[in-house]
Subunit: 480 residues, 2 copies
């Protein structure tokens, strides 16, 4: 008989019509109550077995982690927390899970640390926490696509392997098909990349922005959603060597339009999660409440997870110029009392995470968009303001997360861009195609990048970015 | 004034309300008719200028490729092919396109070969053909997500950088952050990957299947949609070194379910394109009709592009076992007359593209699903049939494209899989986590991979896979 996903079964009314479900045993109490989960929802269906009617051999194999098929009728549940349960007429063990072996894994029914779960990343999606996180990740991904498609953006796949290393967003991984031990050398004794697969040196992309700009100049509104890479030795809870980035790029948008887009977009996807992932969010919220109980009162969250999400959706992001932000920071208590690791002394300073968090968490107490940064601390492609000191850059800062979006209005003037590239030693020859955009029908345009994992961190309330991607890549770690 | 996307303007009724559009000039006829395109649709809006009311300097700069802003009222069009046009009251040139420079590019108004367009891939999206192809690519991508999300699948991001090279789907690219010229060596004089970023040798993934299986065992139904790589020197019109793959994986699905899923899925996304990309499909269809006119009658397409798409959506895919297919091929004319390059002599032969195309294009004249292939020519993870000779593999074959989907029911039996890995010399130590899936609640499960670019090729009717991805990667080519 065709089986039904448990998420649908749980919404059905009791009926005499027999149904079949398949899934994995979460627990089997009193030789009578099977809690069965199939991943379609965080909720289990309770399957009630009248043990006298079943073979002992079968019952013996219904243990935590086993895959089983259950048939029966759906009846009103006597227990708490569920409306319906299955009165089992037939049960078949599809795949056993030897309790002695299970004991050695994170599938065993006790609390495991997140570090332990990370070591068994191939099994952790079977736990409530990771099931919830990964279902949310999936729904958020879809919300991203839905938002852009509804608003007339075209999705584009920018290249992963790139021959250009001009963008300078970070250290790059090299890609090669050469024999690493004995690579061919040229006349100067350097590795001869002319003999490599692409006949040149290639890297993994750090951003699809420059290519996205080429498409915005043809299709108008585009977005990317793909993997990007940083070969940086950042062993933190907020950095990954491989992560997914979303980069919209819009012809004719100025910086104000860009800020509007970022805010509207973020609110849309968070709202989508609130509306479509209630059960998983409730679980993750309770997880955080439990976690908080072991903390000193002063360190506990002021808002629950869903309150925090609603807060973002319901309030305007505060827009503050870099210059205003510097004034606020200079006059702030932690600056005056030298509590910051980096004391803000003058305009032009690069903001550190501690400053961003002060602005967002202490001063404004809401998401903040900082804009018009000093040109000296930002990338070559950002549009120079009339003051010739600042560029039309923007960063969206989130509580607990810090920078979640970085974007800008792009320099659309051929001569200005060319001079900037020269000043910053960026090869005009290599980026001729990027300059071409300013030669043929150039126009005001803007875009931003959003690190998808940071968004998932925020929405799930998880603390470590390695726990919101299935198989995290970080220094020393490329397991699975 | 806020501008409106041209796709929306073209659907509006004439009105005295002034509107603004922005876009790029496709042509400017008789100092009077501007054809303006903004990428939101293949269709241009005609903007009618009363040249006596505008400065000569402005009019001079309205040339092919220039970016302009136009304001005016929408009136009924006198010309053919459009319902409305803009009676221009104001025009501003945002970015010029020097006709002398344009002449040197593919933006110049004459026919350019696809090869030439490929060399200027940063500009080609501004042509009708590539605008249409890339809009279709975007819509097809969304259809992929919508299909799976509607059907309760969870999207997962499988790792791009992988420490495993066990799958054997093809040659891999190496990823490294080491100094390639002077890499650190170990005691044996080999490159010491312990000093590399991930402290081991790493590659670019060839498939996310094995990781997707781990998630199917927790979430039930999952799919991937991400880039995959092959370092193979295949300089053909059907191969890329970097391409996007879709890989659903479903717990409890057997091979018949898997075939149903593949067929249902493909029909859904093609239907989505038919319904949501009418203008672009019409353009591409006419393009093919024009192209056909220069061919001998015998080589012309029997069906138009949209007829071909409808044919796939409206007909059942023919399901044929490998054994039946061999019989058909052995007795076929081209085999008997030795017209095939590879003559089919006996059961066990690997099918070549020419055989697949014969089955699909000559014999069955519809999409075909071949299944139950000899174990010896298929991957280690495919489920062995009771005959112990064949495995539960399936390939979906499309006219003109060949293999568009490859999939299988997976070997879920621990002992059988272990033996198979041993026989095929696949490291048990490296894939311990894959074997674990067969230890803890194993179950029947199946999945497949669909090369996204092959699907886009089919739907757009383009002839070369390099023309359906923005920046193709192939031997000797990693430009942009």
């Amino acid at each position: 008989m065709k089986h039904i996903d448990i998420v649908h079964v749980l919404k059905q009314e009791p009926s005499l019509h027999e149904i079949t479900v398949r899934g994995w045993v979460r627990s089997f109490r009193s030789n009578r109550f099977i809690a069965l989960n199939d991943g379609s929802t965080i909720n289990n269906i309770q399957c009630v077995v009248d043990f006298e009617n079943f073979e002992e051999e079968t019952l013996k194999n219904i243990t935590t982690g086993a895959a089983i098929e259950v048939s029966g009728v759906l009846v009103e549940s006597q227990g708490q927390g569920q409306n319906v349960e299955i009165q089992v007429s037939k049960v078949e063990v599809l795949g056993i899970a030897d309790p002695e072996e299970v004991k050695l894994t994170i599938l065993s029914p006790k609390r495991h640390s997140l570090e332990k779960l990370r070591e068994q990343a191939h099994l952790r999606v079977r736990t409530n926490t990771f099931g919830a996180v990964m279902r949310l990740r999936s729904k958020l991904s879809f919300a991203v696509h839905e938002y852009f498609q509804k608003n007339g953006f075209y999705y584009m796949h920018t290249p992963i392997i790139t021959g250009s290393d001009a963008e300078g967003a970070g250290e790059m991984f090299k890609v090669s098909a050469l024999d690493t031990k004995n690579p061919p050398l040229d006349d100067h004794g350097n590795v001869n990349y002319k003999e490599d697969f692409f006949e040149k040196e290639t890297n993994l992309t750090v951003s699809g922005q420059l290519e996205a700009e080429t498409y915005a100049m043809g299709l108008g509104k585009v977005y990317t959603f793909g993997p990007t890479f940083r070969a940086e030795n950042s062993n933190t809870s907020r950095h990954l060597a491989e992560f997914w980035m979303i980069e919209p790029e819009v012809a004719f948008n100025n910086l104000a339009d860009n800020m509007d887009l970022a805010e509207d977009f973020i609110k849309y996807v968070i709202k989508y999660a609130i509306e479509n992932c209630q059960d998983d969010l409730e679980f993750l919220e309770n997880r955080l409440i439990q976690e908080d109980k072991s903390k000193p009162v002063a360190e506990r969250q002021e808002m629950t997870l869903r309150e925090k999400l609603h807060f973002v959706v319901d309030n305007n992001f505060k827009r503050v110029s870099y210059t205003e932000a510097i004034d606020i920071l200079k006059n702030s208590k932690p600056n005056k009392k030298k509590k910051f690791n980096y004391i803000i002394e003058e305009w032009g300073a690069d903001l550190q995470s501690e400053h961003e968090r002060f602005l967002v968490e202490k001063h404004f107490k809401c998401p903040v968009i900082l804009f018009d940064y000093p040109a000296t601390i930002k990338a070559f492609y950002m549009r120079l303001n009339e003051d010739e000191k600042t560029v039309r850059a923007m960063d969206v800062l989130f509580p607990g997360i810090g920078e979640i979006v970085g974007g800008s209005q792009r320099e659309e003037r051929y001569d200005v861009l060319k001079k900037k590239m020269k000043d910053m030693d960026i090869s005009e020859e290599e980026l001729y195609w990027y300059l071409d955009l300013r030669k043929f029908g150039t126009c005001t345009h803007s875009g931003f990048g959003l690190g998808f994992e940071r968004l998932v961190l925020f929405v799930t309330g998880m603390g470590n970015i390695r726990d919101v991607i299935p198989y995290p890549r970080s220094p020393g770690n490329a397991e699975f």
